[in-house]
């Protein structure tokens, strides 16, 4: 078997996990990182290897997007594993972790294996799955955490539905702790959100829309924290969006609790004003919040309270969005905008480049126990070459995703992926697409 070797020369290596940020090179061999180091290949690439001149651009671990909806199986007209894979590749994402809210729901081993097989066939970004925390995401009976875990489920969640019943949540946390699995909550008290369409407050009142109150999020988080203390289970809050939620988790971490949370770019890059005159592309759950909340999310990312950023990629077709606001679907796509929006935190001087990249590489990978997200000898060669400063404009026409529901269309951003590499193989090269 002939060895497949690629040398990346003249790169700015950034590995957030080790703190490396230096000019150097990297050798990928048979899908793994065979060598890496500051100053490596300063005199040019080795004999017999394909050489990629990085031109001084940033070579970082491929992005790990820990919250993606694939719509496959069930709603392939909105997205499928192939189109999501292309979108991921263009966005610098080498690992996607998908939610179980497909149709049928991923709550059994057979379906988990089906998605894994489809992903292997497509051979783009790697796909990992969460499994449903309860059967059919109905919130009552637990799924087979042990067997599903052995089959590859990385954690358990009812996707966009809160595990609302306290007893169910208590049992889920308690039983999952047998295997050390994480229960991931969509933190929202449903009784306070019935019929809600956007953040409660002045704008919702003026538009005559029912509200989704910020308090519904933090009260579910606070309830869960009590159950985590009582059970010793592992728990993660998905897409936190309010100042109070960030504060509740900050205090829990101060008390020494091993809880984690993530947020999505729209919660630090937009606020509720984006809803404007009934823009359904800005309809998302949790909803875009007020400016104070947005700033608190940025602060939570700065001080480490928020562990990771996930795109929360939620594809919907036109028919689900071209409706009166109250009837339109909740969700924003994000695979292709995760990198530039996260880089806004760097360009706006909230974080260093390495800190910003950590939130979308090693931190989600470590949180979920995945192998990716780092540049180290022996690690899999999942890489992204980034031009961090180049200005460009997000354009929905250019999206590879089958769905176009992004409120960021037309937004000027900086930074994009030049080359995306999975297991040593380039799955995207900027400007060279078929």
């Amino acid at each position: 078997m002939s060895k497949y070797r690629t040398a990346y020369v003249n790169a700015r290596l950034i590995d957030p996990a080790s703190g490396l940020d230096a000019p150097g090179g990297l050798l990928a061999e048979d899908g793994a990182i065979a060598d890496i180091g500051a100053g490596l290949f300063a005199e040019g690439g080795p004999e017999g290897a394909e050489t990629v001149d990085c031109g001084g651009m940033v070579l970082a671990p491929g992005l790990v997007d820990m919250r993606v909806q694939l719509r496959d199986p069930g709603h392939e007209h909105m997205e499928d594993i192939g189109s999501a894979g292309l979108a991921a590749a263009a966005g610098g994402v080498t690992t996607m972790v998908c939610l179980p809210n497909t149709d049928p729901v991923i709550d059994n081993v057979a379906l988990l294996e089906f998605v894994a097989r489809r992903a292997r066939e497509v051979k783009l970004a790697k796909v990992h799955c969460y499994a449903a925390a309860t059967r059919g995401m109905q919130g009552t009976q637990l799924t087979e955490y042990g067997l599903l875990g052995e089959a590859g489920a990385v954690a358990f969640t009812d996707a966009e539905t809160a595990i609302a019943d306290a007893k169910t949540m208590q049992r889920a946390l308690s039983y999952a702790s047998t295997f050390g699995h994480i229960i991931m909550q969509h933190p929202e008290e449903p009784a306070l959100c019935d019929g809600g369409a956007m953040n409660s407050g002045e704008i919702a009142s003026r538009l005559g829309l029912s509200g989704l109150p910020p308090v519904a999020e933090v009260m579910m988080i606070e309830r869960d924290l009590r159950l985590v203390e009582a059970t010793g289970g592992r728990w993660h809050a998905a897409h936190v969006s309010t100042a109070a939620s960030v504060e509740a988790i900050r205090q829990a971490k101060k008390r020494g609790m091993a809880v984690t949370c993530d947020t999505a770019p729209h919660y630090f890059a937009l606020n509720e004003v984006a809803v404007g005159d009934y823009r359904t592309f800005a309809k998302v759950r949790p909803p875009l919040r007020g400016e104070d909340d947005r700033q608190a999310i940025v602060e939570g990312l700065r001080d480490g309270t928020i562990d990771a950023i996930a795109s929360d990629h939620s594809p919907y077709d036109q028919d689900s969005k071209r409706l009166p606001f109250a009837q339109a679907a909740f969700g924003i796509i994000g695979l292709e905008t995760l990198l530039p929006l996260t880089l806004e935190l760097y360009h706006n001087k909230h974080l260093s480049l390495s800190e910003a990249l950590a939130l979308i590489t090693c931190r989600p990978a470590d949180l979920l126990g995945l192998k990716g997200g780092r540049l180290a000898k022996g690690a899999q060669a999942d890489l992204v070459l980034i031009e961090p400063d180049r200005p460009w404009k997000i354009d929905e026409v250019a999206f590879r995703s089958k769905s176009k529901n992004s409120p960021f269309d037309g937004r000027p951003v900086q930074g994009h992926a030049l080359r995306t590499v999975v297991d040593g193989r380039a799955i995207f090269i900027h400007g060279r697409e078929g």
């Binding site: 919702a204 829309l209 028919d319 009166p324 109250a326």
Partner: protein, 292 residues
């Protein structure tokens, strides 16, 4: 300007022969996705008195029930070279969505809990005819502001015209952040009505209540229903208004509602036709230049 034009139509409507031919050959479609008697009739009369052909479409007879979307319906009617679409819908923002997809004039006849602009205009006309002005008056809007598009449109318009606006109701029936609307907020009728020139009552949407917003009609009337005793807190010449349809004995005392000295409720209905004539007239004047 619009109110002046509407004023002239009030006189026209009191004549024996009310018909005009300003809009001869033009088509007005009343597209109602939510049932309504008075607003639809008012728009229908307004269109007919201006000489337009008026067609009424309501949800039960349209193809919406066959699965056609709101936008498809709008496009279909647009393709028939309609000049004015008058739209009512139970979802906030639905009229705006529809207006983006058609090139005829679209009038909002009420969308969800968002707005009901012609109601606010007819209220303003009624007040101006009775009081001679809007500037400097104190207007109290009372009751179910939360679900009321009438309240939202009135707050915006009365504010613009220089009136002081108060809202009165239990917190469960007031929208969140209502204090950011530039209104004074009261939870007590007697205090809220003190020195008011206009008392605008809103319909309690009992079909949406189910004991979740107020515990009972009896309790609601006791604290928030308008009767002579509570009205005494307002100015002696304060005018009582209601957009209709009224729940007698729920938000307003029946006998008070019929007192022509204090109540302008019937006059509001009359002004409705005149205001809608003025709106249709003005909107179609805009259209003359760029008709396809």
């Amino acid at each position: 300007m619009l109110l002046d034009l509407a004023d002239s139509y009030v006189e026209q409507n009191r004549k024996l022969n009310k018909a005009l031919s300003l809009l001869q050959g033009r088509t007005v479609i009343n597209l109602f996705f939510e049932s309504s008697t008075r607003t639809r009739t008012s728009f229908e009369l307004a269109g007919k008195r201006l000489g337009a052909d008026v067609i009424n479409m309501s949800v039960s007879t349209s193809s919406i029930k066959k699965g056609e979307t709101l936008i498809d319906t709008a496009m279909t009617l647009n393709a028939m070279h309609t000049d004015v679409l008058v739209v009512r819908h139970s979802d906030s923002g639905a009229v705006k969505l529809l207006s983006e997809k058609v090139n005829c004039a679209v009038m909002n006849a009420g969308d969800g809990s968002h707005e009901h602009p012609t109601q606010a205009l007819l209220d303003a006309l009624t007040i101006r005819r009775r009081k001679g002005r809007l500037q400097g008056l104190t207007v109290a809007i009372c009751g179910d502001v939360l679900h009321s598009r009438v309240a939202r449109s009135n707050i915006l318009l009365l504010h613009t015209m220089g009136a002081r606006v108060r809202v009165i109701g239990p917190p469960t029936l007031l929208p969140s952040a209502i204090d950011r609307f530039g209104v004074e907020v009261f939870h007590d009728m007697r205090r809220g009505l003190a020195d008011c020139d206009i008392v605008m009552m809103l319909r309690l949407q009992t079909e949406r209540m189910q004991g979740r917003f107020v515990p009972s009609v009896r309790e609601y009337f006791h604290f928030f229903g308008l009767d002579r005793e509570k009205l005494a807190a307002a100015r002696d010449d304060a005018l009582v208004m209601h957009p209709g349809p009224m729940n007698r004995g729920v938000e307003i005392d029946s006998e008070l509602a019929d007192d022509l000295d204090r109540s302008a409720i019937r006059e509001q209905v009359e002004m409705g036709v005149a205001v809608r004539m003025a709106c249709i007239d003005l909107l179609t004047r805009e259209l003359v230049g760029n008709a396809p």
